[in-house]
Symmetry: C2
Subunit: 154 residues, 2 copies
């Protein structure tokens, strides 16, 4: 499940099974998504795809990402003040941790919101379908930068 190649094969299989075609552009996008731990944006996926396959447009990245999202093979983390970020490794909802300085996003290491989900459903009468939990903070590297002001942010 954590091995990029296994995850890539899985995604490829699901696409094929659903009757979708496998173009080189799509393969390149899938491959990036299967490898990335760092929750890349569409733009970042685009840049990396172009390194190995320059014949790719940003629109195609968006279309592929949209397709995977619809199929439930990709978790989209939308931010109203920044571009969306994508998790292709673990597409079911789980808590994330966002650095407000450098916008690095990592998995939080805590899970299991199910108890709460049940409680909220019971209390409110809503049928709960999904959730989204983000923690915002300063990552260790940015904390270091803040205490050594001579270092550049770049």
């Amino acid at each position: 499940m954590t091995d990029p190649n296994t995850r890539l094969d899985e995604m490829v299989g699901r696409l094929k099974d659903a009757g979708h075609r496998l173009t080189p552009q799509r393969m390149a996008v899938l491959s990036i998504l299967a490898q990335s731990q760092e929750h890349p944006s569409a733009e970042q996926i685009y840049e990396r795809v172009r390194i190995e396959f320059p014949m790719t447009s940003l629109a195609t990245v968006y279309k592929t990402v949209g397709l995977l999202k619809e199929m439930g093979e990709l978790l989209e983390l939308g931010f109203s003040d920044d571009s969306n970020r994508y998790d292709g490794r673990l597409p079911s909802p789980h808590p994330h941790l966002v650095c407000v300085e450098c916008r690095k996003i990592i998995d939080s290491g805590v899970y299991a919101l199910d108890t709460w989900t049940d409680e909220v459903g019971l209390k409110t009468g809503y049928r709960i379908l999904s959730h989204r939990l983000d923690f915002f903070g300063i990552c260790p590297l940015c904390q270091q930068r803040a205490s050594s002001p001579l270092l550049d942010k770049s």
Copy 2:
């Protein structure tokens, strides 16, 4: 704390103390925010403000909302695929419950994420500043609509 007039006075006082001017437009926006339980969008605030004070522009609503947000007097709930929603009654982060059908947003009725915040901070080394938790589901009214297909969504 729950009384709209008390909350309005509180917001007005904070604005004055910070040296900001009290225009009729601002008062109208503050008043809507102090009353609203339903987490209105900027557009919705604008529409309601115009009822009692037609000399108001959407830009002014956005500017007022931005000012209050900066002062920590307003909680902004951003959604990448929809307009932002605002909570002026309880501006500190707390879990919300979003109906994916009608986009109604209510408070979840559960709180206390502090234990998790500490755990995540310890595990990752991030200095946690804030969090955001949303549950997505179908509200009771929309569930009813779904089971009685003859009723219109309007």
